[in-house]
Amino acid sequence: MSVAEFDFLLDGEPRKISVETREGTLFVREGGRVLEAEVKRISANELQFRFGGRSVRAYLARAGERTYVAVDGREYVVSESRPETGRHGEGDEKNLETNLRVRSPMPGKVTKVAVAEGEEVRKNQTLVIVEAMKMENEIKTTIDGVVKKIHVTVGDRVDSERPLVEVVKKSNPPRRAEP
């Protein structure tokens, strides 16, 4: 009986599972927990599980490195665990916890830059407003710090690759770092 192990990312969260197939029954182990389900492939994009007395369909589609999975109306993105693959839409990047490179989580247009270079900012303060799909989206800092660099101006089209603003934690912190 063979067991396959998978290092997955589920919506960006690392998940390590092992899977054993025995005559159409799947044993999925994660940590101490075991999920047992009958599984049948219906089509290239559709699996049927019988699980806990219920029939559950799972739908899958692959696009590049990602496998999109829908279970009971919820979508998940599953990918191989690699340090830089993140959940679609992940915007921020922290270096050594002191620098924050803020990106737009979606493509859109900059309608307001709410801070200036050198300005002190507090956690959750709005840095930039990006309009996408006719709604304004406030892009905020997740750390207290100082705006080191602003990469965009009003009217710029941005995608999720290009950094908008860089924030650095203030040097010589007057008080001890929070636990």
């Binding site: 063979s2 192990e5 589920l10 492939r41 996408a132 304004e136």
Partner: protein
């Protein structure tokens, strides 16, 4: 009757109107921006005309280009759908001037009700109760500040040309006034090309109840009962239903009669909706007229059996309205969920990209009005609505259960959607009890934890991905392979980059 109608819109509503045209034996003309060349409405229409680059202001909102497309194709009428030019009186007037029928109200009525401030004045004159607010638009901060003080906080900033929650901001104290005005003006400017805003008193925890009205050119006006639209996020309706759990026959009759009176006062014709706020003491206030077909019109169609788009076209063609108030009835219960391209796990950020897999829910009492297909790229330029799921059943409880099951069967992969979130909304005890007000989402869904059974769902998702990896015979990147021969192979030939563990 018209021989050809142009639809000056995109997405699911353009598809809806194209289907009505086809049923009525009328030719359909789609218009599309460069971003929509491969969109569903373009594929379904008899003819399709490009009208410019992706930004709406240079395509769907460009009146001259739209009118030129109508002229070039010989369309006799334009259906504006909702949003875009649908409530633009200048556009309706241009159509009238050029002898093209605008499928909507006459330009005078449109101008009147489209100006929220003048509409209020008209309604007050007709003795219809309105929410206290500024009676004129002002650009002077001092005046606006004084008005806010007189109304008493909280107040709400609204776009004068508004609708759809765009440009709206609730202000709880004077400190918040300036930023709210700024944001409201910016959003109003970009959504409607007009940055005038005004203030209204913010009524706390109201219900949002609206009445569908149809009126022909001869003044014959009927209402098709209410829609309850209290479930809103950022002032965007997300779940609608009819009948409203908050109305009894007496209140329903009174509000319906008021809605008809309001539309007569405005000199309104064609389809329109009168929106009311209903407060905790069952007092109702006129809010605004939505001078167009509403996103949520299907719930009315399913409970009254009236095809509203067909009625719009009949009225516009000069055929009188043959429906009589005493013959109109509500039967059963209908619920609609709007499925948006937004990520509920990431604070509803818009999600754009390719739809790699689509399975539409089907079954008794299930309707799926969609603007998408498998393989389409969802553009970032427009409203994020992808589709609407509408269900009908004998009563409210049965309709909610049907909706919940249908949402399970709604599979849209490749982008994030609100389907899973909507299922939790529909299954929430407050909603099920019929007690939800406009503060429902803020109160119960300020953060979304993915609900009950999430552990098992996640584990099944992982199991599915693993099983797929172990048994797949094709390695198609991108789009799905359909109808391919599937054989169970040994893991060792197909595992690819995945690491296999020990033997046992």
């Amino acid at each position: 009757m018209f021989g050809k109608i142009m639809i000056a819109n995109r997405g699911e509503i353009a598809v809806r109107v194209i289907k009505a045209c086809r049923e009525m034996g009328i030719g359909s003309v789609a218009v599309y921006s460069e971003a929509d060349a491969a969109s569903l409405h373009v594929r379904l229409a008899d003819e399709a005309v490009p009208v410019g680059p992706p930004p709406a202001a240079e395509s769907y909102l460009d009146m001259e280009r739209i009118l030129e497309a109508a002229r070039a194709t010989g369309a006799e009428a334009i259906h504006p759908g909702y949003g875009f030019l649908s409530e633009n009186a200048a556009f309706a007037r241009l159509c009238e001037d050029r002898g093209i029928v605008f499928i909507g109200p006459n330009s005078r009525a449109l101008e009147l009700v489209g100006d929220k401030v003048r509409a209020r004045q008209t309604m007050e004159k007709a003795g219809i109760p309105t929410v206290p607010g500024m009676t004129s638009v002002s650009t002077s901060l001092d005046e606006i500040r004084a008005a806010a003080r007189a109304l008493g906080y909280p107040v709400i900033v609204k776009a004068s040309a508004g609708g759809g929650g765009k440009g709206m901001r609730i202000v709880s104290d004077e400190d918040g006034l300036v930023p709210a005005l700024e944001a409201g003006r910016r959003e109003a400017k970009s959504a409607f090309g007009d940055d005038s805003v005004y203030l209204e008193k913010f009524i706390e925890e109201p219900r949002h109840v609206e009445f569908q009205v149809l009126a022909d050119d001869r003044g014959h006006t009927v209402h098709l009962f209410e829609r309850e639209c209290s479930i809103q996020r950022r002032h965007q309706k997300i779940v609608e239903e009819t009948p409203s759990p908050a109305l009894d026959p007496e209140l329903r009759a009174r509000m319906g009669e008021t809605a008809v009176r309001a539309m007569r006062a405005a000199g309104y014709n064609n389809a329109g909706t009168v929106e009311f706020l209903l407060d905790r003491d069952r007092r109702f206030y006129f809010l605004e007229v939505n001078a167009r077909l509403q996103v949520e019109h299907p719930v009315t169609e399913l409970t009254t059996g009236v095809d509203l788009v067909r009625q719009q076209i009949l009225i516009a063609s000069g055929t009188g309205l043959t429906l009589r108030q005493e013959n109109l009835l509500q039967r059963g219960h209908a619920v609609e969920c709007r499925i948006y391209a937004e990520d509920p796990k990431m604070n509803f950020l818009p999600s754009a990209g390719r739809i790699v897999l689509l399975r539409e829910p089907k079954g008794p009492g299930i309707r799926f009005d969609s603007g998408i297909y498998e393989g389409v790229e969802v553009p970032v330029y427009y409203d994020p609505i992808l589709a609407k799921l509408i269900v009908w059943a004998e009563d409210r409880e049965a309709a909610c259960r049907r909706m919940s099951a249908a949402l399970d069967d709604c599979v849209i992969l490749g982008i994030h959607t609100t389907a899973g979130f909507l299922k939790d909304v529909v299954n929430h005890p407050e909603f099920r009890a019929g007690r939800a007000t406009t503060s429902f989402i803020g109160k119960f869904f300020s953060s979304w934890g993915m609900g009950e059974g999430e552990d098992d769902r996640q584990r099944l998702a992982l199991a599915a991905a693993a099983f797929d990896g172990l048994t797949r015979t094709t390695r198609a990147a991108g789009l799905s392979v359909r109808g391919g021969k599937m054989e169970i192979e040994t893991p060792w030939t197909t595992l690819g980059g995945w690491r296999a563990g020990g033997e046992r």
